[in-house]
């Protein structure tokens, strides 16, 4: 009995005595962890920048920092003066076009579907949500082989629309989930009021649903853009001609040569990576954790 009464009294002074020390140690360990995390996160990106600002010869030395930093490699990419990057801007345009079309079609198709399923409550809507869930859990890589064979049969190889089709296919399910979840928070009375006033479904969709869904549209649009920028396999399989290929495919081609111009390659990679990084950090606040979920789809 007396022991159990004594226990709190025995522990408390010991905790207060060491409190300062323990707080300092914890804080110190946290800062140490922070430093390790920064090095861990930044190292490959530092390497990318370091190689890009080195002259070609310096890449093949044992320096850990750029000895003679130069932006020469970036200029060579920008004015396409090296033969590996002679179509760079055309390829960048292809990537951009592919990304923009993927964003547009994903938003359009997913919002129409989620409007019919979530707002109009079409009968057998569960078929559509299950179809979307099924698509979400099929690894895209596994489907690439039959997809390529089919596209080959239809003569769609080297056509960027074949890639857009695959990207939209794998982006819409996730977009539909987000829209259904987000749409559930919008009061249904708005739709009903508009309907009583004689609005047709397409008017309700256009004038009520879409404006209210704007935040979710921004998040899903960002997601679709990042997806198209991250995707490599379908572009690699489907786009092989100089005129049709995207920057991602061109980047991978660098690896085929023996003495790769690594500085130009990394400069290209940095220019390529800038857009999604900028877009991501611009809309980071809009992409709550769940909204970024689909970004891991392999």
């Amino acid at each position: 009995m007396s022991a159990s009464v004594a226990t709190p009294g025995r522990i408390r002074p010991r905790r207060t005595k060491n409190y300062r020390l323990r707080a300092w140690v914890t804080e110190g360990l946290c800062i140490l962890l922070g430093v390790v995390l920064v090095i861990w996160s930044v190292l490959p990106i530092y390497n990318m920048i370091m190689v890009a600002v080195q002259p070609h010869g310096d890449v093949f030395t044992s320096s850990t920092y750029p000895v003679n930093p130069t932006l020469g490699a970036f200029w060579q990419v920008i004015d396409e003066s090296y033969w590996y990057v002679e179509h760079f801007w055309h390829q960048y345009y292809n990537s951009l076009y592919m990304g923009a079309m993927t964003v547009f079609l994903t938003l359009l198709i997913a919002s129409l579907t989620s409007f019919a399923v979530g707002r109009m409550r079409i009968r057998h809507g569960w078929v559509i949500t299950n179809a979307a869930l099924l698509t979400y859990v099929i690894p895209a890589t596994f489907l690439s082989i039959p997809f390529y064979v089919i596209m080959n049969d239809y003569g769609m190889v080297n056509n960027i629309w074949a890639v857009i089709a695959s990207l939209v296919t794998f982006a819409t399910p996730y977009a539909i989930f987000i829209f259904l979840n987000y749409g559930a928070s919008i009061p249904m009375e708005l739709d009903e009021a508009a309907r009583i006033d004689g609005a047709s479904p397409i008017q309700v969709y256009w004038r009520i649903y879409l404006p209210l869904m704007a935040p979710a549209m921004v998040a899903v649009g960002t997601y679709a853009l990042l997806l198209s920028w991250n995707e490599f396999l379908y572009q690699y399989l489907l786009l092989s001609s100089d005129r049709s290929m995207t920057v991602a495919v061109a980047l991978a081609q660098f690896l085929n040569s023996d003495e790769s111009p690594w500085n130009i390659m990394m400069a290209t990679a940095i220019i390529y990576a800038m857009l999604p990084v900028a877009v991501y950090y611009m809309f980071r606040s809009k992409m709550s954790a769940g909204l970024t979920m689909g970004g891991v789809k392999g």
């Binding site: 861990w40 850990t64 859990v137 082989i145």
Partner: protein, 312 residues
């Protein structure tokens, strides 16, 4: 306890892809249901998605099953030592990569719960690997690991006068380990953010009452945080395993399947057989051997998502 259960099912957890379940009492939202032209409109709205689903999911799936239906293909595969090695690699890649990544993500999500401003700033840097597109970073890692001029080798040589190991050129295990580390580097931030959101959804009062009851530090984690995060953690593990099974880019760019084709996983081997070797049906058969693992995972995942109504 009821309160805790309720918390897990509440939409307080991060939103996102989950099963979309209709409300229990099925309120008629467009009151009176759909009439005439409205029904036609609703069907019309669904047609684009259904067309995409049929043309680019169902048709390729059936086509793929048909391509890989012949048992002879599997006999041919099984006799290929590279294929057997790829199966082992895939299992290691999934078992180690996914679990180590998620375990660290779980711990780090606790670290990022700290209130200091610099920790919030650190999170912005920490998500950088995820925000930068995969391809440029993997190319960079590939060059970093170069045994002669790579950054890691240079660092070891300049600072410690150690001749760094040949990460990608000679040893299968070093190369596979490099791929796994690159994979963890790329995807850990993302899952940390997911688990961080899960932690933030836990009401602070639970910790306060736990503290009153004498649970501090590690015991708060084992008795409050983990029981509440367990379901989310399990779903993350399942989803991540499924996604990682289809991961092509990491292996292809970091090790390229080398040295001597010893670090391929099923995804890269399938693509290699289908395009480099030029036998699409063999490649299809190779990726289809992942189905005995994929299908049970998908079934458990769907069940988990439905019963728990966790919204990822």
């Amino acid at each position: 306890m009821d309160g805790m259960q309720g918390m897990q099912t509440a939409p307080a957890l991060p939103q996102g892809a989950g099963t979309y379940t209709l409300p229990q009492h099925r309120r008629r939202l467009w009151r009176g249901g759909l009439h005439g032209t409205e029904y036609t409109w609703a069907v019309a709205f669904c047609i684009p998605y259904m067309a995409i689903f049929l043309a680019f999911v169902i048709y390729p799936v059936l086509y793929g099953l048909w391509m890989g239906h012949s048992p002879a293909l599997y006999e041919q595969l099984w006799e290929d030592p590279i294929y057997r090695m790829s199966i082992v690699n895939t299992i290691i890649y999934l078992a180690v990569g996914v679990n180590v990544k998620l375990f660290f993500a779980l711990l780090l999500s606790g670290f990022f719960m700290r209130k200091q401003l610099w920790v919030k700033g650190l999170l912005v840097i920490f998500v950088l690997p995820w925000a930068v597109p995969a391809l440029p970073t993997f190319l960079s890692i590939h060059w970093m690991l170069n045994s002669q001029w790579g950054l890691l080798d240079n660092m070891l040589w300049n600072w410690f006068h150690i001749d760094g190991p040949q990460f990608l050129d000679t040893s299968r295990w070093l190369a596979l380990g490099s791929v796994i580390v690159a994979y963890i580097w790329k995807w850990m931030p993302f899952w940390t953010v997911i688990l961080l959101a899960g932690r933030m959804a836990i009401p602070q009062e639970l910790y306060e009452s736990a503290e009153v009851d004498g649970a501090t530090g590690i015991r708060q984690f084992t008795h409050v945080t983990f029981p509440l995060l367990a379901n989310l953690y399990l779903i993350c593990t399942l989803l991540s395993t499924i996604f990682t099974m289809g991961d092509f880019t990491t292996v292809y760019f970091v090790s390229g399947g080398g040295p001597a084709l010893t670090t391929n996983v099923l995804a890269t081997l399938g693509i290699r057989d289908a395009y480099t070797v030029g036998q699409p049906d063999v490649g299809m058969a190779a990726v289809m051997t992942a189905l005995p693992l994929l299908i049970p995972l998908v079934l458990i995942l769907m069940r988990k998502m439905r019963t728990a109504e966790v919204q990822l």
